[in-house]
């Protein structure tokens, strides 16, 4: 029973990590329908920027964190401006290959600068955050990840529902020509959504880095794990990303715990194929019906 509970807790915390990394992905897809294959690399950039600022430049944690967020916000802006804007209206394959190319560039650069080893952040989370509950204990980082996840969910929910920028973003995602004709500055919306997405990616990269240590290869493979998560939850639903993340996380830990550890890595993709066959728009995704 303890084993089961421990797996449950591990699964939920892993799931929250996936959910957290899926948030940025959903942001981009929601406002510009771009499938971002450079997602893991964007997370890695955020994580390494924070590492460089906090551990190497020895800035105070809060300042380093703020600077990282500003830096990745700018990066997202630049990415949209120079790489994705020329591709508006191009075929899907071009956009996918562009993000793949960007992923390769980033990975090469990060490996060049930081190497392929695992780096660690200095410890800064207060131990008081960790929870002990019977035989099961939850480390402080997981609690922090949980809190950040919930916070983001609420913040983005409010942002999309009430702020004017959020409403512009939703309108652009829904129907670009209509949004244009109603006076929405579509290009600014794209730029802003990439910037916010890069910021979210950096956040999740930092949290993942605190838990597992930062490693380029690891983060980029998590970037691919995002696909089962967002497909399960629905590509354009933030709540779906959270639920999808938790389900995939649970599935992974339970498969790893009870069936086989080697199957663990692949089970999300098997589930992915199954979902795509049965319910391609996921749990909460916007259903577009086309009968061809």
């Amino acid at each position: 029973m303890d084993f089961f509970l421990q797996l449950l807790v591990n699964g939920i915390s892993l799931g929250f990590l996936y959910a957290l990394s899926a948030l940025g992905f959903v942001m981009i897809f929601k406002s510009s329908s771009v499938l971002n294959f450079a997602h893991g690399e964007l997370m890695a950039i955020g994580a390494f920027l924070f590492l460089a600022l906090s551990a190497w430049a020895d800035l105070p944690i809060v300042l380093a964190f703020a600077l990282t967020l500003i830096g990745s916000f700018t990066l997202g802006f630049i990415l949209e401006k120079f790489f994705l804007r020329p591709l508006i209206g191009e075929a899907l394959i071009q956009v996918i290959m562009l993000t793949l190319g960007l992923a390769l560039m980033f990975r090469g650069l990060l490996l060049f600068i930081f190497g392929g080893d695992i780096h660690d952040y200095p410890k800064f989370l207060p131990e008081a955050l960790s929870m002990q509950w019977g035989a099961i204990q939850i480390p402080a980082v997981y609690v922090a990840a949980f809190i950040i996840g919930i916070l983001f969910l609420i913040l983005f929910g409010l942002f999309f529902k009430y702020s004017s920028q959020g409403i512009y973003m939703r309108s652009v995602a829904d129907n670009q020509p209509a949004a244009l004709s109603l006076g929405v500055h579509v290009r600014r919306v794209f730029a802003l959504s990439w910037a916010i997405a890069a910021l979210v990616c950096a956040m999740s990269g930092i949290v993942l880095g605190i838990i597992n240590g930062i490693n380029v290869h690891e983060l980029s493979s998590i970037g691919l794990k995002v696909f089962p998560v967002v497909i399960l939850g629905g590509l354009d639903s933030i709540g779906g990303a959270i639920l999808g993340g938790v389900i995939i996380g649970l599935l992974e830990t339970f498969t790893g715990g009870y069936i086989s550890t080697s199957l663990r890595e692949i089970i999300p993709y098997i589930v992915l194929i199954f979902i795509l066959m049965v319910k391609p728009y996921g749990l909460f995704g916007l259903v577009e019906i086309e009968r061809v």
């Binding site: 996918i96 390769l104 061809v292």
Partner: protein
């Protein structure tokens, strides 16, 4: 003797037959003949062992890339699992040759058929899915096939892989590069010829109709799903065929090369070469394989010459960077690829000096 045809200074086609012609002028035919003679008569004799090895690799990858272009460039179905289908072909050929005792000339086409069957299974989601959903489904297919190749140890030998016996064809041992060159490029010319002609048939036109607008295609009475599945099958057949040649050429295979990276490379080849262009896929393969070789030589050179090996090791990841940069630059500045560049260069020569 019939009248020779030269380039007209505009489009004066008066029948569909003229539009379907592969060679619009007799010069094209002549150059094609010359280049085939050069390819078979001169290249294997003047190139060093290393160049011949690179050329052989180009031939193998070109077969698979032509297949992928049929799927992505002509049918519009994005597949991120082409590398895995290539691997399925390689493994099928290796298993047929070692455990089934099949001869080379049977093992290669059968491996293609096995790969086509697997490709059709992973093409099944295309019944309901399009665009990015299909793309993600094939991504999942890539991971699942990779997993099976590693884990099904009884059949695939797990991470150790399989040693493939050297191939013989009609009593001739194909163990050396030059003999294999003729096999690879014989197959390459045959497969390209089939692909070029396939596009001109009913099937090819159906593919193009589905790519351009699947709803309109359905409305015009084209059974969309069977044709999509057929496209997956043909494309995986090409991949499997090339994979089988690869297995016999390298003589030992492990699951490692058939990863997502290989699939990405294939897509990069046809994007850089030109989507929806058969010669373009060949240009793309030449570009990518050459780039790979140049980059690995550059790192090796730096490792030997550099101040210390430490510098070279840190420079190695820049390979990935250059690779990504090449893809990004091509997509932004020449989305139609090298085929378009080639067309522009040719028409400049043709129209010179009065280019308007």
């Amino acid at each position: 003797m019939r009248k020779l045809q030269f380039h007209p200074c505009g489009s004066f086609k008066t029948s569909y037959q003229q539009d379907l012609n592969i060679f619009s002028t007799d010069f094209g035919r002549l150059w094609m003949g010359i280049s085939i003679v050069l390819l078979f008569g001169v290249v294997p004799f003047i190139s060093s062992a290393y160049i011949l090895y690179v050329v052989n690799n180009i031939g193998i990858y070109a077969i698979a890339a032509v297949g992928l272009n049929l799927l992505i460039g002509f049918t519009g179905q994005i597949s991120l699992g082409h590398g895995a289908f290539f691997g399925v072909g390689a493994y099928a050929a290796a298993i047929l040759a070692t455990k089934g005792g099949f001869p080379f000339f049977l093992a290669v086409p059968i491996a293609g058929v096995v790969s086509a069957a697997v490709g059709m299974v992973f093409g099944l989601p295309s019944a309901r899915l399009k665009h990015l959903y299909l793309c993600i489904a094939t991504l999942a297919g890539q991971f699942i096939i990779e997993y099976v190749l590693v884990q099904w140890e009884g059949l695939t030998g797990g991470a150790q892989g399989i040693f493939v016996p050297s191939a013989t064809l009609f009593g001739i041992n194909l163990g050396n590069d030059r003999a294999f060159f003729y096999v690879i490029f014989g197959c390459f010319v045959l497969m390209t010829w089939i692909a070029v002609n396939l596009i001109r048939t009913r099937i090819g036109r159906a593919f193009i109709a589905i790519r351009d607008n699947d709803r309109a295609a359905e409305g015009m009475g084209i059974p969309v799903f069977p044709y999509k599945l057929l496209s997956f099958a043909i494309s995986s057949f090409y991949a499997g065929f090339a994979g089988a040649l690869f297995a016999f050429y390298t003589m030992s295979i492990t699951p490692e090369p058939f990863n997502l990276w290989l699939s990405i490379q294939y897509i990069a080849m046809i994007i850089i070469g030109g989507l929806g262009s058969i010669p373009g896929s060949v240009f793309g393969v030449i570009f990518i394989v050459t780039l790979n070789e140049v980059l690995s030589h550059a790192t090796e050179y730096l490792m030997n010459v550099g101040v210390s090996t430490g510098v070279a090791i840190t420079i190695a990841p820049l390979r990935e960077f250059v690779y990504g940069l090449a893809i990004v630059l091509f997509i932004i500045f020449e989305p139609k690829g090298l085929a378009e560049v080639w067309r522009i260069v040719r028409s400049n020569f043709r129209l010179w000096p009065f280019s308007y």
